[in-house]
């Protein structure tokens, strides 16, 4: 320290700055390195803790489930006090209980639930659900839903329109699984669009739903188009033929995506009656819907109906044209082959975009 300052005084400002920066960087690097090593050790330690606790848990749960002489309530309290000291411990316990729940059914399911309460995990998660962190809330709902544990409804309702997609998702699944006879009543309270991911979750939940499947046409006028689309899909999946008329009307819906889903679904349900309307609408639809209409004609219509739309396919709509020719040949295999027709005209945007 006695030599450095002397030389330091003589240095130009720029050297000083650089020197200080070097020292700063080295210190930061060392600090960070320490953090990384510390994290590594911590992680290894918690991994170890996880392993020991898991073994204890598996043993305990097995005793709880299969040993008739086991004092359930007393041992639960003991186990909780002795082994579940930190939130991390509780999380490991929850994961194990979910695993048991996933693999066992019948009489074990209710015992697992009993254990969940016995270990104080319900209280633990309820606190999370009442807290502020969205990821904890979502996680809590996820567990409640998996174990079919009921929680005060207002706590879940508030998550239906949460800012975070994941919290909304779990709230939706919770409502479907916990409802006895009206699994989709929550749809009335939804004012955010459903993502595809949520729709897939809902679809799976509906498949597993044991109560009566609701009439999906109830929500075909919902203000969220994604809800309408979901319900159209569900009408097909659950074969609700009584709702075909309502779906048919949707081919004139103002929203293009709803119209498209209706056309696709009508094709899946093999409803040919609506073809005249589709043919009438054809000239005014966009290219995507036009393609869907073509597919409907191919599956449910005739050559005559195909010819009716021919005048509305412009030569510049190459993709449509080729689709049309394919279907024409499908109806009438005597038509000349088009297999070697490789069209080399790119969409107009292409010319702009290609090479600037």
């Amino acid at each position: 320290m006695s030599i450095l300052p002397q030389a330091f005084e003589d240095w130009t400002i720029i050297l000083k700055i650089n020197f200080i920066l070097s020292v700063l960087f080295v210190t930061l690097a060392l600090l960070l390195l320490g953090t990384v090593l510390y994290m590594r050790i911590l992680k290894n330690r918690s991994e170890e803790r996880k392993k020991t606790l898991e073994i204890l848990l598996i043993d305990f749960v097995n005793n709880f489930l299969f040993d008739e002489e086991f004092d359930k309530s007393k041992n639960s309290v003991n186990f909780k006090n002795k082994h579940l000291k930190t939130p991390y411990d509780s999380k490991i316990a929850i994961t194990q209980i979910l695993l048991f729940n996933e693999n066992l059914k019948g009489e074990s399911s209710s015992l697992i639930k009993e254990l969940f309460f016995g270990l104080g995990l319900y209280t633990f998660l309820l606190k999370d659900l009442k807290g502020n962190a969205w990821h904890k809330k979502a996680r809590a709902l996820f567990v409640f839903n998996k174990l079919s544990v009921e929680v005060p409804e207002p706590l879940v309702v508030s998550q239906l329109n949460s800012k975070r997609e994941e919290a909304r998702h779990q709230a939706i699944l919770y409502f479907i699984n916990s409802s006895e006879n009206d699994p989709l009543s929550f749809l009335d309270k939804i004012d955010t669009p459903l993502t595809l991911w949520q729709q897939i979750g809902m679809e799976n939940a509906m498949k597993a739903y044991s109560g009566e499947i609701p009439n999906f046409s109830k929500w075909l006028n919902h203000k969220q188009q994604s809800v309408v689309i979901f319900c159209i899909k569900m009408i097909v999946d659950h074969n609700q033929f009584e709702n075909i008329l309502s779906v048919q009307k949707l081919v004139n819906h103002p929203n293009a995506r709803v119209r498209r889903q209706a056309i696709v679904s009508l094709r899946k349900m093999e409803i040919g009656e609506v073809l005249p309307v589709l043919i009438k609408n054809f000239p005014n639809e966009g290219p995507k819907i036009k393609q869907e209409i073509l597919k409907n004609i191919s599956k449910l219509g005739s050559e005559e109906e195909l010819k009716m739309i021919a005048p509305h396919i412009h030569t510049k709509d190459r993709v449509l044209k080729i689709e049309y020719l394919k279907i024409a040949r499908y109806f009438n295999p005597k038509l000349p082959k088009v297999k070697k027709t490789i069209l080399k005209i790119y969409p107009p945007e292409m010319n702009k975009a290609k090479y600037y």
Binding site: I58, D59, N62, N63, L65, F66, D67, Q96, L99, F100, N101, E102, N103, L104, K105, G106, E107, S108
Partner: protein
Amino acid sequence: MKKKILVIEDNPMVIKSLEFKLNKEGYDVYLTADGREAMDKLKTETFDLVLTDLMLPFVSGSQLIAFIKGEHPQVPIIVLSTATQEDIITDAFTMGVDDFITKPFSPNELALRVKRTLGKIKNSN
């Protein structure tokens, strides 16, 4: 004498539960986590029943079933698997499996089916 059951399953939680439950029911339970180990065990010892998963590391469940049916055709096999598709279950039965239990399973029901399968074999002998 206690009946010997070989259990092949790679999920540690499930295998522990099976061991626990079947021990309680009074069986001798031998555990393996993969198909390769199971084959080695089957070569040196005889069992009264095999309880196996279909998705196993190294040697798949169906390979294992084929092996048992070839080497020890008298040993009954119960499959415990997540497969819910019809074709997988039918395939297992055509290979000569005695029973098929889908996960999630009820431990009591499983114990019952094990007992029934063992009983059937005794009667037919």
